[in-house]
Symmetry: C2
Subunit: 120 residues, 2 copies
DNA sequence: ACGATGCGCAACCGATGGTTGCGCATCCGC
DNA sequence: GCGGATGCGCAACCATCGGTTGCGCATCGT
């Protein structure tokens, strides 16, 4: 049934909308610092820093110190794991509600045409 | 039109591991009450009741009073929306990961082909 | 050398997931 | 019909978390 400890950490990590956006930004730009990310987010540097700490703890990102800055970038393999988690839960529900799968896909199509990615 | 309010509510609703399990149980057994669910969960009835209230508020489940009991069941259409949310985020990241991998492979071969395909 | 920049630590606040305790309504056995 | 068991909601309370502000320290640039 899913829900191991690691899985749960990944879930809670990507469950936060701010963290999702941060991952998105990091993926888009390759890397970033707490300060650079905070400039593109509606939260303060400290909040971003905390989120980065969380993401770092679960291994979704890792930092590389460069002088007085800390450059973060996404760990692709770990993110792939997280994506697999999403898919797993979706599939689990889908397995029980296979008949609504088509409906979900239709909705997804609509959403994809509306928003390809996030901007806020 | 990225994260609308409703979408965000859906995310936070399914983001909680207890609520995910509750949805799972409800799907498995068709319906359930706060008490019946709490017997299968490591939390108290009140906690379950609160979660049910949250899920009810975002429309993922709805209750049907029966005597002194309140039977809940999953709203399939709304759950389909939620699954679509998961898939959408997963697809977005997945697509970007694929792009990164391709880019990395291309960089390795750039010495020869020089086919820079960085859309971004 | 000194100001600007980037960061971490600490204190604090509001929301939330969780608990316990209580009271009320409904059902069941007598 | 009465009383206990059952199911629920409300309220108080606690811990955690996302967020803020404030401060101090290290590094960079002139």
């Amino acid at each position: 049934m899913s829900a191991t400890a690691v899985d749960d950490d990944l879930w809670s990590a990507i469950g936060d909308p701010t963290r999702r956006t941060m991952i998105d930004l990091l993926l888009r730009e390759g890397n970033g610092t707490a300060t650079s990310l905070s400039e593109r987010l509606p939260v303060t540097r400290q909040a971003v820093s905390k989120h980065l700490a969380v993401l770092d703890r679960v291994g979704l990102v890792h930092a590389s110190p460069a002088g007085r800055e800390r450059h973060f970038q996404v760990d692709e393999a770990q993110l792939a794991r997280a994506v697999a988690q999403l898919a797993a839960v979706g599939d689990a529900w889908d397995a029980r509600l296979r008949r609504i799968k088509r409906l979900a896909e239709q909705i997804q199509q609509t959403q994809n045409t509306q928003n390809t990615n996030e901007g806020e």
